[in-house]
């Protein structure tokens, strides 16, 4: 079994807000992330797939193909967008780093043509990242 990881980057804005909370509660829970004018990050996504090395090609998956899937399914949807306002999965779900990792997993898992997704890691900044392994 080999794990293979590909990185991609996108830049996006977001804010944290729960409509069920009062404005004071949103500020208390989310701090400056609750600023309704939003703020942004340079995100890095690491997608790790697992599998056996193909005898013919020596690949677990074709990296160029994986890059294309990540670009089409994630980067083109998220890059230079406001996640809360422009990305459908975050209309009702707060775009925290944890939820972005889960959302990227869901976007990719149906598109990987049998390659097994192992982990999605999302860096909001170099010192803060979230991992999702598809666990319920």
């Amino acid at each position: 079994m080999i794990l293979l990881t590909r990185k991609a980057e996108f830049s996006a804005s977001h804010f944290y807000w729960n409509d069920a909370f009062s404005p004071e509660e949103n500020e208390r829970v989310f701090g400056k992330c609750a600023n309704r004018n939003g703020h942004g990050h340079n995100y890095t996504v690491e997608v790790t797939v697992e599998g056996e090395v193909d005898r013919e090609t020596g690949f677990v998956v074709d990296l160029k193909w994986l890059k294309g899937v990540m670009d089409h399914e994630v980067v083109q949807v998220y890059d230079h967008r406001h996640l809360n306002l422009e990305v459908p999965e975050f209309r009702q779900t707060i775009p925290t780093t944890e939820n972005i990792a889960i959302a990227i997993w869901r976007r990719l898992e149906q598109k990987l043509n049998g390659a097994r997704l192992h982990r999605v890691r999302v860096y909001e900044m170099p010192d803060l990242f979230a991992d999702y392994y598809g666990e319920p």
């Binding site: 925290t96 944890e98 990242f129 999702y132 319920p136």
Partner: protein, 136 residues
Amino acid sequence: MRAYLSRRYRLSASHRLYRQGFSDEQNFAAYGKCANPHGHGHNYVVEVTVGGAVHPATGMVCDLGELDDCVRKEIVDRFDHTNLNLDPAFREVVPTTENFSIAIYDRLSSVFLAAKLIRVRVEETSNNSFEYAGKK
């Protein structure tokens, strides 16, 4: 949905790798220049990973501010700009980065209760890192 959140913290400290029961020759054989009598220092990076269900109301595994406050108070404030050999955690054990990882894990697992502590990873230099995930 279970996810994992990791945060990196920085601290600088000195240490000397030297075991009291060993002769000087044995210490230099085991630890090389790390046994030099006046010690030396590192810029450590402490990567703390916590895990748990993503809370539906907040989109978070735990309150990041709470984690930051806890790690700063319990780890960074305690060890930053100190000599590790003089800390009570290293009265009985040599302050290798293996033992430093265990000391940090054991302290955080007893005081940080907002999410499950999964792993502590300590980078001693950019080329050396050590991980501890609790007793197996």
